[in-house]
Symmetry: C2
C-alpha cells in the first residue's frame, strides 16, 4: 500500500493565484522540508469544505497519517516535530521562542498596517460570490468600508517602513532574517509581502530597500515557488 501524499488546502484568487499569507507560510515550510503534497486550490466561499474536514480556515493540512492541522502555526510545529530536518528553527528552543515573538509581532502590529494599505485592492482579484463574500465579511469585521480601512495609505506606508526595521536589522546579520540561511522567520515576513505582491499594485517597499532585495531572493527559493503566483504590481 502506498502512503497517501499529505493533502494541502490552499486559498486562491478567482484568477488562480495563491494569495493567503498564512498559506504561504505553510507552503514555504513544506518546501523547506522537501515535502511533496497534493495541493487543493479553493476559493474563499469554499471554506466550509475545510471546516467539514476538521479544519478551521485556510490553510488546512491533512497529513499522510490522517492527522489534521488546522492553522499555519499548528502546521509548522507539526512539520518540525514529524520531520525535524532541515529545521525550520535552526538553533533550537531559543529560536522557536524568538519565532513566536516575531509571529506575534507580525500578527498584531505589522499585518494590520499592511491591511490598511492593500485591503481595498483585494476585491479586484475576486469574482462573483467570492467577491461579494469578501467585501461583506471584511466590512463586517472592520465595521467600515474597505475604502475607509485604506483611507490613509501614505501614512500607513510610512508606518510600515518603521515596522519593517526590525527585519532589516535581523537580515543585516547574514542576508536573511534567520541569519545565514532562510528559515521560518523569513517565511513569516515573506508570506505577508507575497500576499501584498499578489493582490495589490501598491509597492510596499522602495526598490533600494534591503527588504526588496531580500524579497527577490525569497522568490527565487525552491525553484521559484513564490513566482508561481503572478505579481499584480
Amino acid at each position: 500500500m502506498t502512503t497517501p501524499l499529505p493533502q494541502f488546502y490552499d486559498l486562491i484568487t478567482s484568477g488562480g493565484e495563491a494569495l493567503s499569507p498564512w498559506c504561504w507560510h505553510a507552503r514555504m515550510a513544506l518546501a523547506h522540508k522537501g515535502i511533496t503534497v497534493e495541493r487543493h486550490e479553493r476559493c474563499f466561499t469554499q471554506k466550509q469544505e475545510l471546516i467539514d474536514k476538521g479544519g478551521k480556515s485556510f490553510p488546512l493540512l491533512i497529513d499522510s497519517d490522517g492527522s489534521i492541522h488546522a492553522d499555519s502555526m499548528d502546521i509548522i510545529l507539526h512539520l518540525e516535530e514529524s520531520r525535524p530536518l532541515p529545521s525550520l528553527f535552526p538553533g533550537g528552543t531559543a529560536t522557536l521562542a524568538a519565532y513566536r515573538f516575531m509571529h506575534r509581532y507580525v500578527q498584531t502590529i505589522l499585518f494590520p498596517t499592511v491591511v490598511s494599505i492593500i485591503l481595498v485592492d483585494i476585491p479586484d482579484t475576486l469574482e462573483g460570490d467570492d467577491k461579494a463574500y469578501f467585501i461583506e465579511s471584511r466590512e463586517k469585521r472592520f465595521g467600515k468600508s474597505l475604502a475607509e480601512v485604506c483611507a490613509d495609505r501614505d501614512t500607513a506606508l510610512k508606518t510600515l517602513s518603521v515596522q519593517l526595521d526590525p527585519f532589516r536589522k535581523a537580515m543585516a546579520n547574514g542576508g536573511y532574517i534567520s541569519g545565514d540561511a532562510p528559515a521560518m522567520p523569513d517565511y513569516l515576513l515573506f508570506g505577508v509581502l507575497q500576499w501584498a505582491r499578489v493582490v495589490s499594485p501598491v509597492q510596499l517597499v522602495e526598490a533600494d530597500d534591503a527588504i526588496a532585495a531580500w524579497m527577490e531572493r525569497m522568490l527565487d527559493l525552491f525553484e521559484g515557488l513564490g513566482r508561481t503566483a503572478a505579481a499584480r504590481g
Copy 2:
C-alpha cells in the same frame, strides 16, 4: 603582573540607584558570563568623563586588554566574541539575528511607549545639576515639556500591553523570552522594565500578567543583582 579588571561605567540616580536600561543590558550580560568588573557609578552630568575616555554615553566598558566598547550592543557583541561561553545567544547566528530584530523592536517601538509613561517621573530621582540637565536635555530632545510627553499615560499603558504581547508569546515557550533559560533577549526587556521600576511609581504591567512573574524571576537572577537597585513603586 595582575590583569586589571574590566572597567564598567554605569549611570545612577542622585539616590545611587542604577537606572539606565542600556547599562542594565550590559550588566546582565556581564553577570551571565560571570565576569567581575570594577564598576564606576556616575551621574548624568559626568557623561563628559566617559567621552574623554573614548566612550559615547552610558554604558562604557574598558576591557582588561584596554579595548573600549562604547554602547550596550557593542559591549554585548564584544563579550560574546571574547568569552563565548555561556552564550548570550544560544542557538548561534539564527538567535543573534532574532536578537537584532528584538533589539530594534525595543528601540523603535516599545521604548518610546515606556518613555511616554515614565519620563515625567525621572526628575524626582535626580537632584541639583543632574535634575536641571535631565529636564533641559529631554525637553530639547522631545520639543515639549516632560509632562506633555506623558500627557496620556492611560492610552500609553494600553499600547504597551499590546506591544508586550510578542514577549508574552515567546516566554510561553519555556518560561523565558529565550526559551528554557534566560539569555540576551530576556536581558533586553529586563533592562527597560528595570529602568521603569527604579524611576517610576507607575506599575507597567498588572500583577497577574505573565510578564510580572517573569520579571520577579529576572530580579532573582545572579544572586538578586536587579534587586540591588530599589524599586520606586
